[in-house]
Subunit: 211 residues, 2 copies
């Protein structure tokens, strides 16, 4: 049990340019120097796993209060050539209007990559990313995580684009709108977005109106 260390790695997703993207940092030191990796770091002596994840997330993106969920723990004895390192992986979703703050303090070189076009990753990070993607896609079906990726006000078209970007396939507009309407968690606003041809009604995420 001599020198065992525990890290927290965070798969940070956003949707930009109509594609699901993930934040990766370029490693400056061996092993895997020059390769991209999922951001993460060692846990401090007196912080919980989740607190460590929140801290790392803030360091990388400058943002707090995101959706964050524990994913899985990876502990193959040879996953890190430097020694025994177990990692507890998390994944997070950041709204597209908050990610201007990207490439924060300590990230030597960080960047967003479409999940369909990630470069080779260090360690077992390819596996972690695959695990996060699978979880996100599953959660999308039976929860409302998708809303975490949008600004406070958004159109139904934008919401559908987010779903399509995550699932990587086209959805039927009418079926999608029906499904969302059934959830009763959107409040239509008296505002319209005038960026396209015909203005689209803006909506706000809201708990279902209690009886």
């Amino acid at each position: 049990m001599s020198d065992l260390r525990v890290t927290v790695d965070i798969v940070i997703f956003t949707v930009r340019d109509g594609a699901l993207q993930v934040l990766l940092v370029k490693r400056g030191v061996p092993p895997f120097a020059g390769q991209y990796a999922i951001p993460g770091g060692f846990i401090h002596a007196d912080e919980s796993l989740e607190a460590a994840a929140i801290r790392e997330l803030h360091e990388e993106t400058g943002v707090r209060n995101l959706f964050l969920e524990q994913l899985y723990s990876f502990g193959d004895p040879r996953r890190d050539p430097r020694g025994r390192v177990i990692t507890v992986a998390y994944y997070a979703l950041i709204a597209s209007d908050k990610l201007s703050v990207v490439a924060g303090a300590d990230a030597a070189e960080a960047g967003w990559f479409a999940v369909t076009k990630v470069p080779p990753l260090a360690f077992d990070h390819q596996q972690i990313l695959a695990c996060a993607l699978e979880r996100l896609r599953n959660k999308l079906e039976y929860t409302t995580v998708g809303f975490q990726l949008l600004p406070a006000k958004f159109t139904l078209g934008e919401l559908q684009s987010v779903y399509e970007a995550i699932l990587n396939r086209k959805l039927d507009k009418r079926n999608f709108r029906r499904k969302i309407a059934l959830l009763k968690i959107l409040k239509p606003l008296r505002q319209y977005q005038h960026t396209g041809r015909k203005p689209a009604q803006l909506h706000r995420f809201a708990a279902p109106t209690k009886s």
Copy 2:
């Protein structure tokens, strides 16, 4: 990061006497001496998390080749009064016909407890157990984990009892049988079980017959 340790804890379920039960061990040393806890132990230097779980499971029950799945990692800094201990929790299912070997090598005092009647547990093990229960119940709905709890040959009535024990509610016999039949994973045998009043046909778990 000085002295951080990592354990693997395993919530081991079985169905006995028509109730979902969990294996607990009585602690012989402080902290929480005399209280029950979920079996577990430290990971060895050169074994993966899953290998550690398999090893612990074998030590506790004498059984290998069970259903085993990683559950969640718990890392609150104060979850163990002795110091910083992070635990990676797993849960396992053991078939009712294999659990004669219970109370294996190192368990000072071990016993099965109905999940509705567990004593107060050491550390945050109550929380871990709750987490495992929730996962098991969810998995039961959309996977075939339930079959892991039965011997190779079983009746449909026994299968339904297992489901009812886990979900802790009665199920409709005809709906249940229809649902199972739709899965096409059971092979009816030319054998009947004569323990009750009217003999019941035995079935065997089998992959769906490929076209």
